[in-house]
C-alpha cells in the first residue's frame, strides 16, 4: 500500500521534472544558441564551429540600421514608460477610489484596449493619421504605444490599490493629513512595488511591440521592425545575432533587477516573496 502510493508520487515527480526541463529548453534554448552563434567566426550560422570572434558585434555597431533602430526603441520605450505611468496611475486612482457617473463604462474602455489585437490598432492608427494628415514617424509610434500601454499600468496599479487596506488612508485623513500628504506618505509606499512592476512592463511592452510600430512608423524603424525587415529580405545574418544578443541580455538584466528590487521593497514592508511574485505576474495577466 505505502509502496504503491510512494510510486504513484515518485513517478509524477520524475515526469514533472522532465516536463519542466523540456519546456525551459524549448523556451530558452533557441535564444541561447542564437547568442552562442553571435560569437562564431563564420558568415553562415551553422556548425561546425569556426572559432571565437567578436567581429559581428563591431559590425553591428557599424550598421546604422541596427544602432538607429535600437536607440529609437530605447527612446520611444522610455517616453512611453513615463507617460503611461502618469496616465495609468491617475486613471487607476480614479477608477478604484472615486465614485462618479460613467465609471463602469470608462473602466470597460480601459479594459477593451487590452484585448483589441495590436494588428488592428496598428491599422486603425495608420488610417487615422493619414486621415488627419499627420506624417508617420517615431512620434506617431509613441502616441499609439502610449494608448495601448497605459491601460496595462492601470490594471497593475489598480490591483495594487485594491490589495491594500483603504482604512489606512481614512486614518491618515482623520489624523489631519492633507490629501497630498496622504498620497505621499501612505499610498505611495504601499503601491511602490506595483509602480515599479508597471514601469518595467510598460517599457517592455513598448520595446517589444512590433505590429503597431510596423504600421504607424512610416520610414522610421524600431528594433523589432528592423529585425523583421532584415529577415524578410535576406537569410539569417550574424549581425542580427549580435544585436539580438545584446537586447536579450539587457532584458534579462531588467527582469532580474526588477525582481530583486521588488523583493527588497516587499521585505521592507513585511511581505513575503510570494507577494512580490504575485505583483510580478500581475503584469503578465
Amino acid at each position: 500500500m505505502s509502496l504503491s502510493r510512494r510510486m504513484r508520487r515518485g513517478l509524477p515527480s520524475f515526469l514533472s521534472t522532465a516536463l519542466v526541463a523540456l519546456v525551459l529548453v524549448v523556451l530558452f534554448g533557441p535564444v541561447l544558441l542564437l547568442a552562442l552563434f553571435s560569437f562564431n567566426d563564420s558568415t553562415v550560422i551553422s556548425l561546425p564551429w569556426e572559432g571565437f570572434t567578436t567581429k559581428w558585434y563591431s559590425a553591428a555597431l557599424d550598421d546604422s540600421g541596427a544602432t538607429t533602430s535600437i536607440s529609437n526603441s530605447v527612446v520611444v520605450a522610455t517616453i512611453v514608460m513615463v507617460v503611461s505611468l502618469v496616465l495609468g496611475t491617475l486613471a487607476a486612482w480614479g477608477l478604484t477610489r472615486l465614485t462618479f457617473r460613467g465609471r463602469p463604462l470608462l473602466a470597460g474602455i480601459h479594459g477593451a484596449v487590452l484585448v483589441v489585437p495590436w494588428l488592428i490598432i496598428g491599422v486603425a492608427g495608420l488610417i487615422f493619421f493619414s486621415q488627419i494628415q499627420f506624417a508617420l514617424s517615431l512620434q506617431t509610434i509613441t502616441l499609439m504605444h502610449v494608448v495601448v500601454t497605459f491601460p496595462l499600468v492601470v490594471a497593475i496599479v489598480s490591483a495594487g490599490l485594491i490589495r491594500f487596506n483603504r482604512s489606512l488612508e481614512e486614518a491618515a485623513i482623520d489624523m489631519g493629513a492633507s490629501q497630498l500628504q496622504m498620497m505621499r506618505y501612505v499610498v505611495l509606499p504601499q503601491i511602490a512595488p506595483s509602480l515599479a512592476a508597471a514601469a518595467i512592463f510598460a517599457f517592455a511592452w513598448s520595446f517589444n511591440n512590433f505590429e503597431i510600430s510596423f504600421f504607424t512608423g512610416g520610414f522610421e524603424q524600431t528594433f523589432p521592425v528592423w529585425v523583421f525587415g532584415v529577415l524578410r529580405n535576406s537569410s539569417n545574418l550574424p549581425i542580427v545575432n549580435a544585436a539580438s544578443t545584446v537586447i536579450a541580455l539587457g532584458q534579462v538584466m531588467l527582469v532580474f533587477g526588477l525582481w530583486y528590487g521588488m523583493k527588497l521593497m516587499n521585505r521592507r514592508r513585511g511581505g513575503t516573496d510570494a507577494d512580490a511574485a504575485k505583483m510580478l505576474t500581475g503584469g503578465v495577466r
Binding site: 519542466v20 533557441p30 544558441l33 489585437p117 523583421f228 529577415l231 505576474t281 503578465v284
Partner: protein, 301 residues
C-alpha cells in the same frame, strides 16, 4: 450605502473632511480627464475611423461613398476563406498545444515545485519579456534547411538530405506561436490553481477517486475561469499574428494578419484592409465576450 453613493447623499462620513459637492465633481475630473482624452483621441476615434473606412469606397477618379462591397468581396472570396481556415487551424492547434503543456506546467508550479516555484515563475515572465522578433529569428535559425537541427542531424549521419519540412510551413508557425504565448497560458491557470484548497485532493483520494476523476470532477471545474482567461489572452493574438507567419510561414503558413498587412501596405487598399480588420475585430470581440462571460459564470458557481 452603495446605492446612495450615486445620489446627492454623501458617502459614509469620515470624521474630519467631508467632500463637498464641488469637490466630488472636480476630483474625478482631475484624475480621469487626461486618460479619457487620450483614449478618446487615440483609441476610440481611430477605431471609429477604421469602421467608417470599411464602409467606404474610393477609386482613382476621386469618387467615393458608402458601400458594403468591401465586406461582400472578402466574404465571397474563396481565397480568403482558405486563409481564414488556415488561420483557424494554426491558432487552434497552437492553443491546444499550449493547453496540453500549460496545464501540467501550471499544476507543477502551483502544487509541486516547492522552492522552485518562484524561480520558475520568474523564468516564465522572462520568457515573455524576451523580444518576440528575437525569438522568431532564433527558431528560424534552428529549423531552416541549413539550420542547426538539419546540420546536426546530417553531421552525425542520421539523415542524408536536409529535412525541408521543418521551416516555412504551418508546422513552424505553430512551433513559434506556441512558444511565444506559453506564459500567458500558464499564468492565469496557475493563479486559479493557487486559489484552490489542495486539501480537496486528499479528500477526493480518500474517497477513492483516481487522479483522472480528481482532475475532471474536482480541479477542472475550479480552474475553469483561469482557462477561459488564458483563452481570452492567447487565442485572439494567435488569430491576428502576422510576424511569425511572414518570417517562418512560407506560402502554406499564410494567415489573416498577412492579408491585412498586404492589403494595407502592399496594395494600398485601405478600405479593404479596414474591412478585413473590422471583421477580425468583430470576431475577436465576440470570442472575448464569450470567454469573459464563461470565466465569470464559473467564478460565481
Amino acid at each position: 450605502m452603495a446605492a446612495s453613493a450615486q445620489t446627492a447623499a454623501p458617502m459614509p462620513v469620515v470624521a474630519g473632511e467631508r467632500p463637498g459637492p464641488l469637490k466630488r465633481l472636480l476630483r474625478p475630473l482631475a484624475f480621469m480627464s487626461l486618460p479619457t482624452a487620450v483614449l478618446t483621441m487615440l483609441f476610440l476615434l481611430p477605431m471609429g475611423i477604421l469602421a467608417y473606412y470599411s464602409f467606404q469606397f474610393g477609386d482613382l477618379t476621386g469618387q467615393s461613398g458608402f458601400t458594403i462591397t468591401n465586406f461582400t468581396d472578402i466574404l465571397s472570396d474563396p481565397l480568403y476563406r482558405d486563409v481564414a481556415f488556415t488561420t483557424f487551424q494554426i491558432a487552434t492547434i497552437a492553443m491546444i498545444a499550449q493547453l496540453v503543456v500549460g496545464l501540467p506546467i501550471a499544476y507543477i508550479l502551483a502544487y509541486r515545485a516547492g522552492r522552485f516555484e518562484l524561480p520558475l515563475l520568474l523564468a516564465l515572465v522572462l520568457a515573455d519579456e524576451l523580444n518576440p522578433m528575437v525569438r522568431i529569428y532564433a527558431w528560424r535559425m534552428l529549423l531552416g534547411r541549413e539550420g542547426l537541427i538539419n546540420e546536426t542531424l546530417m553531421s552525425i549521419g542520421l539523415i542524408k538530405v536536409p529535412i525541408d519540412a521543418l521551416l516555412f510551413n504551418e508546422f513552424s508557425v505553430i512551433v513559434v506561436l506556441s512558444t511565444s504565448y506559453l506564459t500567458y497560458t500558464v499564468i492565469p491557470i496557475y493563479a486559479s490553481m493557487k486559489a484552490v484548497d489542495s486539501g480537496l485532493f486528499d479528500a477526493a483520494r480518500d474517497m477513492g477517486a483516481g487522479w483522472f476523476t480528481t482532475f475532471r470532477r474536482v480541479l477542472l471545474p475550479l480552474i475553469a475561469p483561469g482557462i477561459f482567461i488564458a483563452l481570452l489572452l492567447v487565442y485572439v493574438p494567435l488569430f491576428t499574428d502576422f510576424a511569425a507567419p511572414t518570417l517562418v510561414g512560407g506560402t502554406s503558413g499564410f494567415m489573416l494578419g498577412n492579408v491585412v498587412s498586404d492589403l494595407v501596405l502592399e496594395t494600398g487598399n485601405l478600405n479593404a484592409g479596414a474591412a478585413m480588420s473590422f471583421l477580425m475585430l468583430i470576431a475577436a470581440a465576440g470570442f472575448s465576450l464569450v470567454a469573459y462571460r464563461l470565466s465569470r459564470i464559473k467564478q460565481g458557481a
